[in-house]
């Protein structure tokens, strides 16, 4: 295969991969009880917003990088990302690109700065924790599906098997109540205010914080799926890049 053909194939793949993922749906809004609220404190209200139905893919992020080369691997300042930024992309003549097999997989190994820049470039932004958690608690049939048996199971299946199989293409599972895919069981996702909650032992002093025992001040100590999400967010710094951390945008 010659270079021109490869280039053509690349363009076609980009188009195929790029079209579906830009879909957004309206989240009506409502109220929810985040993990760190006690049972008698008021619920958090979430105003209506729009959310990407799918996590941002490698193909979409590649298109962004093409338009904004300052976010190409190798060009980003060490203050805005760690060394592992887009480490799963491969070098070609014009720079780094995702492997063809990864095009429809969620983009990972991106820092908060990069994710934030991507959403801004689309006229969107990263979801807040409240927005993400509100959508994340939906099951296939209910706005709040956290008490359904399979809710936690999806996350467990992910850590039980996900690493062995690697990342999947986005949108393979069932959408949730809102029509949003892959909220659980594929990747962790950046939020705008990812480091606004604490999971440290000295945090027991604050009313909306946790002790390391992870139950002081929590609404549901058995909601370990939520603990895992708050845990991963707390462990992050904005320049970190992780193999299993991606993002989606809201408006």
């Amino acid at each position: 295969m010659n270079t021109a053909k490869l280039k053509l194939l690349w363009t076609v793949l980009m188009m195929v991969a790029g079209t579906a993922a830009a879909d957004m749906v309206t989240i009506k809004g409502g109220s929810y009880r985040p993990l760190y609220l006690k049972k008698d404190t008021p619920l958090i209200s979430v105003k209506p917003f729009q959310m990407d139905t799918l996590p941002v893919t490698n193909a979409e992020f590649a298109a962004f990088v093409q338009k904004y080369p300052q976010w190409q691997r190798g060009n980003v300042s060490s203050k805005q990302t760690e060394k592992g930024y887009l480490r799963h992309w491969v070098k070609n003549k014009t720079g780094y690109k995702p492997k063809a097999v990864d095009l429809k997989k969620p983009v990972t190994n991106v820092s908060w700065f990069a994710a934030n820049a991507y959403c801004s470039a689309q006229g969107k932004r990263l979801p807040t924790i409240d927005q993400w958690e509100f959508v994340g608690q939906a099951s296939a049939t209910r706005i709040n599906g956290t008490t359904e048996k399979n809710y936690n199971r999806t996350i467990l299946d992910w850590y039980a098997e996900g690493n062995r199989q690697g990342l999947r293409d986005v949108g393979q599972g069932k959408p949730n109540y809102w029509g949003v895919y892959d909220m659980h069981g594929l990747i962790w996702e950046w939020t705008e205010d990812f480091n606004s909650s604490q999971l440290t032992s000295s945090a027991a002093e604050g009313s909306n914080l946790f002790c390391s025992g992870a139950s002081a001040g929590s609404a549901d100590p058995s909601d370990y799926a939520a603990f895992m999400r708050y845990g991963i967010r707390t462990s992050l710094q904005a320049k970190f890049v992780l193999n299993n951390l991606g993002f989606r945008c809201v408006r």
Binding site: G84, N152, R153, L156, D157, W158, Y159, A160, E161, G162, N163, R164, L199, T200, S201, S202, F210, S212, G213, A214, P221, S222, Y224, F227, M228, Y230, G231, I232, T234, S235, L236, F240, V241, L242, N243, N244
Partner: protein, 497 residues
């Protein structure tokens, strides 16, 4: 080499002394004394400590005793790996591990050491992790200092202030889940003077596991939070897996050797009744601390705790390690083996000396034959009353066994509940009422000696002989009018409807 380093340390301690007025030791007169070593231990600044990589071993192995009489800066490198491993034959589980297996590696440091923990979380991990050392004095036991996202390394340091055997475990939310997935291990802070020398040391940690499928259900078994909260594990195992220290993996030693087992309990929930079948622990360092107990059969190891047990091997054989909360051992996996080779000692343990037939009810083979009169008694069966006096005698025993509880030792009964048999006008008027009472019971109103009783006496399961005897006893006791009841009387009453 060792002395050379020590000399250098002492020298540097004294160099410090010169600038530190609080330090009272006088270098010229204590250069070789134990006191000066103590001061060297306590006063050397961290930066001047020799730097040593910790020797860390996977269970059931233990790092060698510390051959050092001065403090050091010990580098402990820990790596978190999430991986699928075998829980039992055909059963897989996604373990979260310190260092690739359960328990995490054994860490051995010396009291007074400065321990630097370099804590790495593998890039493939799904979640952040950290470590809480029970041997650390400080908030979270190092949990905050080591809280680490996937693909990162955190470093923190602590001083091993107190000697003892301590659990370390992951303390990231949800803590119970991280522990339940296998994130625990032991660190020994060896006392400055060291532990007494033994021939073999082993590392065993108990843990309870909560799988969605029942014990033995095959396939990859996910963690079950509901069972964990209920504290109903499917598996209770030593060293992370069913059979981890049994069969080919058994601990091995020889007759005549002394053995020390560092026993930990990762939990998360169950407390262990640690026991070695066929051995008595010569010493137990209770909960891994300074208290030494001797001649112990079973020692309690708390969840998140430890114990050090020591014993000498006197005889060969397979000695089974169990949690003596025994259904865990035989139904949930808490079994290990210590295989001991060497010559037998028949005095300490004979083994089986003989096997002979046991026939408690007699039969063709009798090791001690009966005498002729004894044989006749066997043939005759239970004793029979030959006359009224015999009946009274035998009847008393039957009364004591069957009647006394309600009617009393003196036949006075209990007012309002059980009528008296003593001087009983009811019984004396018609002794056969007694037969009826024994065979069929009594219920409803009866009047005895002017008092009305309205209660229930159940029928008493006595044969004709015994019923006749007890009634004859009663009629001739307690101030009653006398008389005699024969077995044939009872039989006759029994026949009638």
């Amino acid at each position: 080499m060792k002395h050379h380093v020590l000399a250098a340390l002492i020298a540097s301690a004294f160099a410090l002394t010169a600038c530190d007025q609080k330090f009272e030791a006088k270098p010229e007169d204590t250069a070789t004394s134990a006191a000066s070593e103590q001061q060297a231990d306590d006063s050397v600044a961290q930066g001047e400590l020799p730097v040593i990589d910790a020797v860390m071993t996977q269970a059931p192995n233990v790092p060698p005793p510390i051959d050092r009489d001065y403090p050091a800066k010990v580098i402990v490198k820990m790596e978190v790996i999430e991986k699928v491993m075998k829980m039992a034959d055909g059963v897989d589980y996604k373990y979260w591990t310190f260092g690739g297996d359960v328990p995490g590696k054994f860490i051995r440091v010396r009291q007074g050491d400065q321990v630097e923990v370099q804590f790495s979380n593998h890039p493939d991990s799904t979640v952040p992790h950290n470590v809480d050392f029970h041997g650390v004095t400080g908030p979270g036991g190092g949990a905050e200092g080591s809280f680490t996202a996937p693909g990162h390394t955190s470093t923190f340091s602590f001083k091993a202030l107190q000697p003892g055997l301590y659990i370390y475990h992951c303390a990231t939310a949800p803590v119970g889940m991280h522990i339940a997935n296998g994130m625990y291990g032991l660190i020994l802070v060896e006392p400055k003077e060291g532990l007494p020398k033994v021939d073999k040391e082993f590392y065993v940690v108990q843990g309870d596991f909560y799988t969605k499928g029942k014990y033995g259900e095959t396939g990859l078994q996910p963690f079950d939070m509901e069972k964990a909260i209920k504290e109903e594990p499917e598996y209770v195992v030593f060293n992370g897996h069913v059979g981890a220290i049994a069969g080919d993996n058994a601990l091995k030693a020889n007759v005549g050797e002394t053995v020390r087992i560092f026993v930990g309990n990762g939990g998360p929930n169950l407390v262990s009744s640690f026991h070695v079948i066929g051995e008595i622990f010569d010493t137990v360092r209770v909960e891994g601390g300074d208290l030494v107990n001797k001649n112990i059969q079973t020692t309690l190891v708390p969840a998140g705790g430890a114990a050090i047990v020591e014993f000498k091997l006197d005889v060969p054989g397979s000695f089974t390690l169990v949690d003596h909360s025994i259904f865990r051992a035989f139904n949930k996996g808490a079994l290990g083996q210590l295989k001991v080779e060497g010559p037998a000692n028949k005095e300490i343990y004979s083994g089986k000396l003989s096997d002979s037939v046991y026939q408690p009810e007699g039969g063709a083979i009798q090791t001690v034959p009966l005498t002729a009169s004894e044989a006749a008694r066997v043939a005759a069966g239970p004793a029979k009353a030959e006359n009224k006096d015999d009946q009274i005698k035998l009847g008393q025993a039957i009364y004591n066994a069957n009647c006394m509880a309600c009617h009393g030792a003196e036949g006075k009964g209990v007012a309002g509940a059980f009528p008296p048999l003593a001087g009983s006008d009811y019984l004396n008027a018609d002794p056969k009422r007694g037969i009826h009472a024994i065979l069929r019971g009594v219920s409803g109103k009866v009047t005895v000696n002017g008092q009305e009783y309205n209660s229930v006496m159940p029928a008493v399961a006595l044969n004709d002989e015994d019923a006749a005897n007890v009634l004859t006893y009663v009629l001739n006791s307690f101030g009653n009018n006398g008389g005699q009841i024969h077995a044939s009387d009872v039989a006759k009453e029994r026949q009638s409807k």
